[in-house]
């Protein structure tokens, strides 16, 4: 989701601390005991920043540290902003996004992470399917039922499936797809003698029906009463293969039975014996070779599954050609083939649109979030899937000031420095004129219950090739506490009028003065001169030195088109890289406040900077990126 201009992103400091930093590990180890002095943390970052360069919003690393403010959390124990990379998640509950029912965690795995009720997604277009009756005119809502997609008009009739009742569709569907001789499936009659090794809905299962049983001459093992039926579906085949290989592993590790003797290897070994022999017999055998009493002359060999009982499925050699012929036939065509996206969630055998089965809805989760370093819970939502409330929610927005911006619309008369032609209207932030200064109102709103002192710092010229000049007219200011709203109401009642509401047109931005101030917010003016894009560099070059904007604007306006064209054909360095024309301003924010730490007094002692009895001086510093707009090319 790209944001419309203007936006403010906040950089999580975790990107600055490299992963194998020993000091970080030490800190994280100590922090649960609350013994570490937590105060130096922001200062450490300050030092880091001083050593390094200013934050470059366009650096490749910045992509990973910049977050919209509402996605950030705040750990009260570490006193630090936490981004989605600094947290761990724990699943609270699973729920179906369609019916919003919770699935108990014991059932999640058995249901394959999918809804066990009537929620299905269209296999063709992923839209949710609805259960509809075929008898619309009846009025008594009876008759066969189908799943139909309201988006692409796919129905289960396309694959020849109808349901007898509108409830428990998933069980009905599972029954149909596992039992081949269902009356609803009219398309093919599958012989029951040898199981169809695939879903009965796959069109070419009829090919496999003619497949002679693999190892048909081989007699079935008598000592295997459980496998009376041959596995039919993929899942059953997988289960058969799994048990087979488990048995193989067990058989080869337990005893020195001759591996060639298949009948013996199939017998399920005594569990206790197997466990015992894992720790005694095999190890001794492995160590000393023939030292064991049950000495083996040769190591046991695991064999592969060879019969259909064991889950082996051999496609008929002609099945591939049959598929190809079907693809080439006229009634299939391109539309008859399932796309890669459709096949991704289907059985691997599904090649055609007719093979696609409705997909039960994937479950979603509600998760609680913990700080990765100190393991404190930062976010804990209510358990109920439909609830939107939180038991614990430590979001960064309730700690760091929320920055909003809007362009300052200047009256045409008072602005002497600006060209008076079009400055009265709001500047188009999607097409900022290069070298024409604009002024923005940057409002910081405090959500803490303590007043905060803010220091803003920004490089005078933005990093990157498009050098825009930035000036914060009042870089240091205070923001009031987020006190009771009634206080403000009473104050504004006593005060005759607030300066903000009088008339913004009469004010002029002055250096060193805040523009406006409210109960818990302060507005300062940010003056930005958008830089010239590289394609225009030749002409704009003159204008950068002297701040004569009128001439420069005219020049660039005249020559914009020609230069841009030539820039594209010439040097790649002269071309504008993608999003290089976005005017991003890095701003370093440092906030100081005195917090009343009566909640956990041991932290106040640990910080060692307690001023009074219960007041602790805190500070927090971070980089913020203000996206002002896009420079017109």
């Amino acid at each position: 989701m790209s944001r419309p201009f203007p936006y403010a992103y906040i950089s999580c400091p975790c990107a600055n601390t490299p992963a194998p930093d020993p000091s970080r590990k030490r800190r994280s180890r100590e922090s649960p005991q609350k013994a570490s002095p937590e105060k130096p943390r922001p200062e450490l970052q300050l030092d880091d920043e001083e050593d390094e360069q200013t934050f470059d919003p366009r650096a490749p690393r910045s992509n990973f540290s910049l977050y919209p403010p509402e996605q950030l959390l705040y750990c009260e124990d570490c006193h630090q902003i936490k981004c989605p990379r600094c947290i761990t998640e724990e699943i609270l509950c699973w729920y179906c996004p369609n019916c919003l029912f919770e699935t108990p965690s014991s059932m999640v795995r058995s249901e394959g992470n999918r809804c066990a009720r009537n929620c299905f997604n269209c296999p063709a277009c992923t839209a949710p399917l609805s259960v509809t009756t075929l008898e619309n005119r009846g009025g008594d809502q009876s008759g066969p039922w189908v799943l139909s997609c309201g988006y692409c008009m796919w129905t289960t009739l396309d694959i020849g499936i109808k349901f007898d009742k509108p409830t428990n569709i998933r069980a009905q569907l599972a029954k149909m797809t596992t039992e081949p001789s269902m009356p609803a499936i009219h398309t093919r009659q599958v012989s029951k003698t040898f199981g169809d090794l695939k879903s009965p809905l796959s069109m070419y299962s009829s090919i496999d029906d003619q497949l002679p049983p693999v190892d048909g001459s081989r007699p079935d093992n008598e000592d295997q009463p459980s496998d009376t039926s041959i596995p039919r579906t993929r899942n059953a085949r997988f289960a058969a293969l799994k048990t087979f290989y488990k048995d193989q592993v067990a058989a080869t590790t337990t005893s020195g039975v001759d591996p060639g003797d298949f009948g013996a290897s199939f017998s399920s070994p005594n569990t206790l014996h197997r466990i015992m022999s894992i720790y005694t017999a095999t190890r001794i055998t492995a160590l000393y070779g023939n030292g064991n009493k049950k000495a083996r002359n040769r190591p046991p060999v695991m064999r592969e599954a060879v019969s259909a009982n064991e889950g082996l499925a051999l496609p008929k050699p002609s099945s591939e050609t049959a598929i190809i012929q079907r693809m080439a036939s006229d009634d299939c065509g391109w539309d008859g083939l399932a796309s890669l996206e459709q096949r991704a969630f289907q059985s691997p055998d599904a090649r055609f649109v007719e093979d696609l089965l409705p997909l039960p809805s994937l479950l979603r989760t509600k998760r609680s979030k913990r700080c990765k370093s100190c393991k404190h819970i930062l976010v804990k939502p209510e358990f109920k899937p439909s609830s939107t409330r939180y038991r614990i929610r430590l979001i960064a927005l309730s700690y760091i000031p929320l920055a909003t911006m809007r362009p300052l619309i200047l009256p045409p008369t008072t602005s002497a420095s600006l060209p008076s032609l079009s400055s009265a209207a709001a500047p188009n932030l999607d097409a900022l004129t290069p070298q024409r200064p604009i002024q923005l109102l940057l409002t910081l709103k405090n959500h803490m219950f303590d007043p905060v002192r803010i220091t803003l710092a920004t490089p005078s010229v933005t990093p990157g090739r498009v050098a825009s000049k930035v000036t914060i007219l009042c870089p240091q200011f205070d923001i009031g506490a987020n006190s009771d709203v009634w206080d403000e109401a009473l104050q504004s009642a006593t005060a005759p009028d607030r300066s903000s509401r009088t008339s913004p047109y009469e004010k002029v931005a002055e250096a060193g003065k805040v523009w406006d101030k409210g109960r818990n917010w302060t507005t300062v003016v940010l003056e930005v001169v958008p830089g010239s894009l590289p394609g225009l560099k030749l002409k704009a070059y003159k204008g950068v030195g002297d701040d004569d904007n009128d001439d420069d604007d005219d020049d660039s306006d005249e020559n914009e088109g020609a230069l841009d064209w030539s820039g594209k054909s010439k040097d790649p360095a002269q071309q504008i890289q993608p999003d290089e024309d976005v005017l991003d301003i890095p701003v370093f924010v440092r906030m100081e406040w005195n917090s009343d730490s009566q909640i956990d007094p041991e932290e106040g002692i640990g910080s060692g900077k307690g001023l009074g009895g219960d007041s602790v001086k805190r500070e927090l510093a971070y980089w913020m990126v203000l996206g002002v707009g896009r420079i017109e090319s």
Binding site: E70, Q71, C99, C125, Q141, C149, G150, R364, I395, L402
Partner: protein, 203 residues
Amino acid sequence: MPPKAAKGEYIETDTGNKISRRSQIHGTQHIILGGKSIIQADAVIRGDLFRTSSSSASTPDSKSDPKAAAGGAGNSIAITIGRYSYISRSAILRPPSRLHRGVHSYFPLKIGDHVFVGERSVVEAASVGNHVHIGKDAVIGSMAILKEFAYVLDGAVVPAGMVVPSWCVVGGAPARIVGEVGEGYGVEGAEGGMARERYRMVR
């Protein structure tokens, strides 16, 4: 950032709703506005498509002329919009409809508080929860349910009958869940909590 309208563009009701004079609202007696909601120019709100109650079940033809039936069933509500909701330019709100017992009938469209409906979007949802954001050029299919804090991206086509759970971001055609909004979404003044600010900007 909504475009600033000319003076006198909006009619302000007693409860603070600001309704553009250029909006097209049909069947006003079947529409409930919670107050402080904004309806911009060229928005179409079809209050005339309300559920013709049991009397119309016998005569399904009455849906072809709903305005004639409007006088008969004056108490049926077609569209409910909560407080601080914002209907952008050229958006269309239509009550959802479906075949119910063989009769094509309309169902009420409920829109919660702090809802944003983007430009040129078509909403036929059954219910739109609080703090839902619907981007521009989006289509919300008939009988869809958008739970609280759902976020519909620009140009998304939410299929008919889809349920978008809370905090989920949906996009694409057909829409599917592509992500979740952050925990701070909907905080006053931040992303998702700009409804009061938007209301203030409109004059």
